[in-house]
């Protein structure tokens, strides 16, 4: 059993009781909700005749279903309109803070909460969304929950859960130039596999992690769940504190000093004990792309798609499915694969630094013919900053469509979808069958810089050829 890690300390601090069944009752410090996984929870609350226990510990925004072209109300899609309307009514009725479209703070829930300073070290954070692991970048214990648990948090501010084990993922050295957090996390998932994290929290540590900016750290923790880990976190440091300082909900004045002191006390230390440790050399990583139908099926730009013989026996079945679905031949190279759609956005890579990097690649270039390319900022705040810096112009001049914030084609609940068996170069996090809205659409996951490079060349390309010139 792990001991004295940040995870242990935060877990123990939030433990309310041992439940009769043997699991722990855990207090949730911050509860985030959105329109897709909350309506049924509010419905259940009503059925049980219960109230929201601590309304000011829940914060709402709307992200999954919002259109990114025309956001005027009512939405064209009746069902989407019904969902946002239901969220508005529920928040009003239960006095929950709601950052709606036009508030200046709407956006993908995992982009918005850190921007507002809501996400802080040492908290437990839950949201009816698996990428809640993102918030662990700040040294919080953050995990996705289902709708019944959303109901439980609303009703009691607690959930029943078994304590996770802790695996430290130690990343030695530094990422080379032109290699990004996305490449690193894709490699971690590839090496450990998509189910290795089941039952674990991942602690990302080591010089390569310390060197990352807060936004890059969010990219890493965001995809913990793609490695099976419900929760991923990074110990807070000066970068964490300076990111949080002076945001709307950050502690102010004398409370700031108190907060820092407490946050520092939470860090894992040399004497912490882990259930497992995995080491990786970040300096060896190259631009990485998925070729299959799970985020673990990735290779670097100069590698060939593995043959069945090169794949572990337990992963061969899904590899066979992937060859068939993707239409790739084992042994074929991934470089130069033609692309139809380029998507930059999502809670993995839709932040301001992602847009800056992509814009840097796109400057003085044009999107290749017949490519549909669009960029969807992660939040209204990201969009505003990008416009102030002129990034929107760079994207538009290159031939990208500039859209309004939301989840968009990460999961295609609005009209942004792949058609037929189109291939997308996507900065999002899931390449599952049908994920981007077409039952036979194909997704190649990569960093936003690599998406930009692919958009210029019209095919999978090495971004280092564009930035190192």
């Amino acid at each position: 059993m792990s001991q004295d890690t940040l995870f242990d300390k935060v877990w123990d601090l939030h433990k309310v009781a041992n439940l009769p069944g043997g699991s722990d009752q855990i207090f949730i410090g911050l509860h985030l909700i959105h329109e897709v996984t909350s309506p049924q929870a509010f419905g259940a609350l009503k059925d049980k005749n219960l109230k929201v226990k601590f309304p000011n510990r829940t914060v709402a925004t709307v992200d999954h279903i919002v259109p990114t072209d025309n956001q005027s109300r009512p939405f064209k899609d009746n069902l989407a309109e019904q969902m946002i309307d239901t969220l508005e009514k529920n928040c009003l009725e239960h006095e929950i803070k709601f950052f709606n479209i036009g508030s200046g703070n709407q956006g993908i829930v995992h982009v918005v909460a850190p921007e507002l300073g809501l996400t802080q070290p040492g908290m437990t954070i839950a949201c009816g969304d698996s990428h809640t692991s993102t918030h662990g970048a700040f040294g919080s214990i953050a995990f996705g929950i289902g709708t019944s648990q959303v109901r439980d948090v609303l009703a009691s501010q607690t959930i029943a859960m078994n304590k996770l084990k802790v695996r430290q993922i130690w990343c030695e050295n530094k990422l080379p130039n032109g290699i990004f957090a996305k490449d690193l996390i894709l490699n971690i998932i590839n090496q450990l596999g998509v189910k290795a994290g089941v039952g674990y929290a991942y602690e990302f540590a080591g010089p390569a992690i310390s060197a990352l900016s807060m936004e890059e750290r969010m990219t890493i923790c965001n995809m913990s769940i793609e490695g099976g880990a419900r929760c991923g976190y990074i110990n807070p440091d000066e970068k964490t504190f300076s990111y949080i300082k002076d945001r709307i909900f950050s502690p102010k004045e004398e409370n700031w000093e108190k907060a820092i002191k407490w946050w520092k006390s939470l860090q894992s230390s040399d004497s912490s004990i882990y259930d497992d440790v995995f080491k990786l050399d970040a300096s060896k990583i190259e631009p990485t792309i998925t070729w299959g139908i799970t985020p673990g099926q990735s290779i670097s730009i100069n590698q060939k798609i593995p043959t069945l013989k090169e794949i572990e026996p337990c992963d061969q079945f899904i590899a066979g499915e992937a060859y068939e679905y993707m239409g790739f031949k084992p042994g074929q190279s991934i470089k130069d694969t033609p692309i139809d759609v380029c998507f930059i956005g999502s809670c993995t890579n839709g932040r301001i630094s992602d847009l800056r990097i992509a814009a840097e690649v796109l400057k003085h270039h044009k999107v290749a013919k017949n490519i549909k390319a669009f960029v969807v900022p992660g939040s209204e705040m990201v969009a505003k900053e990008a416009k102030e810096e002129g990034l929107d112009r760079i994207f538009i001049n290159a031939g990208f469509q500039w859209r309004e914030p939301g989840c968009s084609m990460c999961l295609a609940m609005n009209s942004d979808k792949l058609m037929g068996n189109q291939v997308s170069a996507s900065s999002s996090n899931r390449n599952f069958k049908g994920r981007q809205g077409s039952p036979n659409g194909r997704t190649l996951l990569m960093s936003p810089a690599m998406v930009a490079a692919a958009s210029i060349a019209g095919k999978v390309s090495d971004v280092r050829d564009f930035i190192n010139k």
Partner: protein, 207 residues
């Protein structure tokens, strides 16, 4: 599909039913219920849309479409079943199609806790046993009688020792899988906790 859906309530100790097998590792919740069906404010209509994309692709040959699987209620799956999105719509859709229990090699964390929260016990068995079961299921109608108390599943001439987390088993037997009232019973402890957490104080009344 059953026309009237009755969600489980109270103690769950025994499940009898026909098995349906679904072969494949890493079957994610996007496949179980594609995102377009998430545009709903209740779960009622999800049953018919379970595996919609996969079923369309297989044009009637998907296990959930085969006539021989009509009325099945015990799903046999392989490893990492239910990975990906946290959408409870996935187990809700399975449950509304008729699934009452799942036996697999392994389950993704969030999917597993969603199943517990809505009253679907998930059991694990070694890969080789699952594969044997899936062969039986493919060849003929295969019925199992699951006894949660003893953690066994009985077929006509076979017996399987099922594995289930002790805490989940207790919850099903006692009926406490529907956790809200158990959690609320500790009302005063919850209030003590909120007063004791440092960040609640230094954040004043935010968030």
């Amino acid at each position: 599909m059953k026309s009237i859906f009755n969600p489980p309530i109270g103690s769950i100790s025994e499940i009898n039913g026909k098995c349906i097998s679904l072969i494949g590792d890493d079957i994610d919740t996007d496949r179980i219920i594609p995102a377009r069906f998430l545009k709903c404010i209740n779960f009622d209509a999800l049953g018919k849309s379970v595996f919609d994309d996969d079923r369309k692709t297989l044009k009637g040959n998907h296990p959930f479409d085969l006539e021989c699987n009509n009325g099945a209620s015990i799903l046999i799956v392989n490893s990492n079943f239910g990975c990906g999105s946290s959408r409870e719509h996935a187990p809700q859709a399975l449950m509304r199609w008729g699934i009452k229990a799942i036996i697999g090699e392994s389950f993704a964390d969030i999917f597993y806790s969603n199943c517990i929260a809505i009253g679907i016990p998930c059991f694990t068995l070694p890969s080789s046993t699952i594969k044997t079961m899936q062969k039986y299921t493919d060849n003929k109608d295969f019925f199992l009688k699951i006894d949660l108390y003893k953690s066994i599943a009985l077929a006509k001439d076979l017996k399987f020792n099922l594995e289930i987390k002790e805490s989940s088993k207790k919850m099903f037997l006692s009926g406490e899988w529907d956790a809200t009232s158990t959690l609320l019973a500790n009302k005063s402890l919850i209030e003590e906790k909120i007063n004791e957490l440092p960040y609640i104080k230094f954040n004043n009344d935010s968030p």
